[in-house]
């Protein structure tokens, strides 16, 4: 088991020479010269994490999904779950308080925390979370089967990178059903984030102890739930690795700081604000390897550009902020970060651009609508849902308050803080661009979080190299407990609408086996686990979006009849559609049951199939065809 020192080093050339001396001739560390923690302490902490894992998984298997209400999982998780979560938190803080850090132990404890906090969906439901996941599987299936793109179907086909990769995996393995991968994606993606998060935090904090704590806080506060099988999750892994790589290998000023008055002033201001040397603690590969890494970073950017609309645009302000704070010496990189996504939009995604130009630029500069407007529409729905939304806001506020306090503490203590602060704030410049379907603020929180947590740990931890004092350890534990509990509420608050059951999947399969190819398929509320196959084989419609609608009108049979007027249609109403409508306030309370009962007796409506997951109707058209 290797041990990691938590020593904070003075900045300067002496330190560099010392490093070379260590590399060249130092004896390997032994238990004598390190003053190791007794191995039984480490064993006990590892065993505690194992107990937390077993207890956490067992407690989640005891949850009855049918009892999940409007507040989500928090109402149905047994006390044993919180004991497991508590053990996981106490164990991690205890490990962080050891005189010498044990990376293997900390890694194991973080893995346990990820499974306990972010693994509830696969363990409890055993199915992919979010209807978008099912759509993503369908797009990958469509591309994998046809080997072609159809941008007229929807915008996903203009950014096909991630879906092509999934299609290649499916095609090359013969595995047509990627449900298993989609189900466990939240755990898998969080585990994939561990290395880039740690690499990033090592560059943005003063010592390894703070870096581990920052990663831990990230997992505790990451409630956004973008870790499903999605292009944004894939791009987020690339984005964090890209920034970590840039900071580690390409730190420093991009121009001679004495060249112009502006560069002189900028360097002086940066130095005054944060005196830690740019590129502090960075890795310095051989020149040829450095050149290879430039290409690698550009490829990361290209893969992100081909996969997701928003993520590459988030890279632009982040790398610009690093450039202006003397943490990025590749001056062409921000230019490349602009050219690639804009070029893709103009050439590869021209179909999307032509069809959505007005929508893209319509809200440009409307900061109020893109921020507070999008926010206010989310604070609606059932009382339980509003409580969940307020918990999310409180969690975001807590992280930002800690981050601001951390920036002040960092400035006073003269430890690295400016790069983290600049990178955390940088994504906010995207606010004036457009609301991104009302989700921009959520995404910006996610983009800022890895940097904000590096600041948030500063008020909670000293720069002391030898462990944590009892007071600080208790403070860190308390903060972790508050954030983790809030995340159980905020992350799983929409569980009723975001999770599905086997009955609903059986219902959708029955729909596909009943409806002929090309038929119109209608969902009452846009929240159905479908399109994971036959993505382009049917005409999919929805009566109402699963979005908050102030003073929502009741659903009428006429709306479905109009769609079915010519050729007929099949209408599907599921349990999770009802949950979504109630939670988000898309229809009046109880309206979907009334709609189903009323329309079932309407002329031309025939009940095709019904199970515990929902009901399928066939609506006869004029031609009585399909």
């Amino acid at each position: 088991m290797t041990h990691e020192t938590a020593t904070s080093h003075p900045v300067g050339t002496a330190h560099r020479h010392e490093a070379h001396a260590h590399v060249g001739g130092a004896k390997p560390p032994t238990h004598r010269n390190l003053g190791l923690t007794p191995s039984w302490h480490i064993g006990a902490l590892a065993a505690t994490a194992a107990v937390a894992l077993a207890l956490g998984v067992w407690s989640m298997t005891q949850v009855d999904p049918l009892l999940i209400g409007g507040a989500g999982l928090i109402g149905v998780l047994p006390p044993a779950y919180f004991v497991a979560l508590g053990l996981s938190l106490v164990g991690f803080v205890a490990s962080l308080s050891l005189r010498r850090l044990v990376p293997a132990l900390l890694t194991w404890q973080l893995l346990v925390a990820v499974v306990v906090l972010h693994g509830a969906d696969p363990i409890i439901h055993g199915l992919p979370r979010l209807e978008a996941t099912f759509r993503h599987l369908g797009i990958a299936d469509n591309i994998g089967q046809s080997g072609q793109l159809d941008p007229t179907l929807d915008a996903y086909f203009d950014w096909p990178g991630f879906f092509s990769m999934l299609g290649m995996l499916s095609g090359a393995t013969g595995v047509k059903d990627l449900f298993g991968i989609a189900t466990w994606a939240p755990v898998g993606i969080n585990l994939l984030l561990l290395a880039p998060l740690l690499a990033l935090a090592r560059r943005l904090t003063a010592n390894p102890r703070q870096a581990w704590a920052a990663v831990w806080i990230f997992y505790m506060a990451s409630w956004i739930g973008q870790d499903y099988l999605s292009p944004q999750a894939h791009s987020f892994v690339l984005l964090l690795t890209l920034v970590a790589c840039l900071l580690s290998v390409f730190g420093g000023w991009a121009w001679p700081t004495e060249r112009t008055r502006f560069s002189r002033r900028l360097a002086r201001t940066v130095s005054k604000l944060d005196s830690s040397a740019p590129g502090y603690g960075a890795i310095e590969p051989h020149r040829a390897d450095t050149a290879v890494l430039v290409v690698v970073c550009a490829l990361f950017l290209l893969a992100m550009t081909a996969s997701h609309q928003l993520s590459p645009f988030a890279v632009i302000p982040i790398v610009a902020a690093l450039l202006l704070t003397g943490r990025l010496r590749l001056r062409f990189f921000p230019v490349l970060a602009v050219v690639l996504p804009v070029g893709w939009l103009l050439f590869a995604a021209s179909t999307f651009l032509a069809g959505h130009f007005g929508q893209l630029v319509g809200s440009f500069g409307d900061i109020g609508a893109n921020s507070l407007g999008a926010l206010s529409t989310r604070v609606s729905g059932s009382d339980a849902h509003v409580l969940v939304v307020y918990t999310r806001l409180a969690e975001v506020a807590l992280i930002w308050i800690l981050a601001v306090a951390g920036a002040i503490v960092g400035y006073r203590r003269k430890v690295p803080w400016l790069a983290a602060a600049a990178a955390a704030l940088a994504p906010l410049v995207l606010v004036p661009l457009q609301p991104y379907g009302g989700e921009l603020l959520l995404r910006l929180y996610l983009f800022s979080l890895p940097f904000a947590v590096c600041l948030a740990v500063l008020p909670l931890m000293s720069d002391n190299t030898a462990g944590l004092s009892l007071r600080r350890a208790l403070g860190l534990l308390l903060m972790g407990a508050v954030l983790a509990t809030a995340t159980v509420v905020s992350r799983y608050g929409n569980d009723g609408m975001e999770s599905f059951n086997d009955d609903e999947i059986a219902l959708v399969n029955r729909l596909y086996s009943t409806a002929p190819t090309g038929a119109i398929l209608i969902e009452a509320v846009r929240n159905t686990p479908w399109r994971y196959q036959h993505y382009a084989d049917y005409d999919y419609r929805a009566l109402v979006a699963a979005e908050p609608i102030p003073n929502a009108a009741p659903l009428s049979c006429d709306a479905a009849n109009q769609i079915a007027h010519n050729a007929g249609a099949y209408l599907i109403v599921t349990q999770s559609q009802q949950e979504a409508a109630e939670l988000r306030g898309s229809t009046p309370t109880g309206d979907l049951q009334r709609f189903t009962a009323t329309c079932a007796t309407s002329p031309g409506w025939t009940k095709v199939y019904e199970n515990a997951g929902g009901v399928i109707f066939h609506i006869k058209g004029v031609s009585n065809g399909k």
Binding site: T5, T7, H9, H15, E18, A19, H20, H22, V23, A26, P28, G144, S146, G147, Q148, L149, P160, G161, S164, M165, G167, M168, L169, S170, G171, A172, T173, G174, V175, L194, A195, P196, A199, R202, P208, A211, H234, V237, L238, L240, T241, L242, A244, S248, Y280, G281, A282, I283, E284, P285, H286, D289, L293, L299, F300, L302, A303, A306, S307, A348
Partner: protein, 125 residues
Amino acid sequence: MASERSYMSYATAAVALAAIPLSFVGPEGLRLAVIGLLMLAGPGTALVLLLRFDHPRSAQATGALPLSIAIAIAFSLTMSTLVATAMIYARLWSPPAGICVLSIMTLAFLGLELTRPKRALVRAK
């Protein structure tokens, strides 16, 4: 350290070699495990081994290991994404051929690594 690198190289080469026939035929579970591993970590691990992203036993250089792992994964995902996307746009869609390209790339990086001087090239500031 040298033996760890060797084991890693052998394991990566084994995965890359096994993925080639498995991309055409084999039991689904095994194909998913081997090809999934190749797409997730194959070319990136070979690249990191080529770049000598070792983490010397130096206090100052700690942080190289997570960065190496991050680059190994991100580069593999990147190449898988770009190879698949290129096949789509070139209208040459063939998933087994895409896997073969990734395998050959992995083996090429490992081959280049063999020809490089053995001295560690990474330095810590």
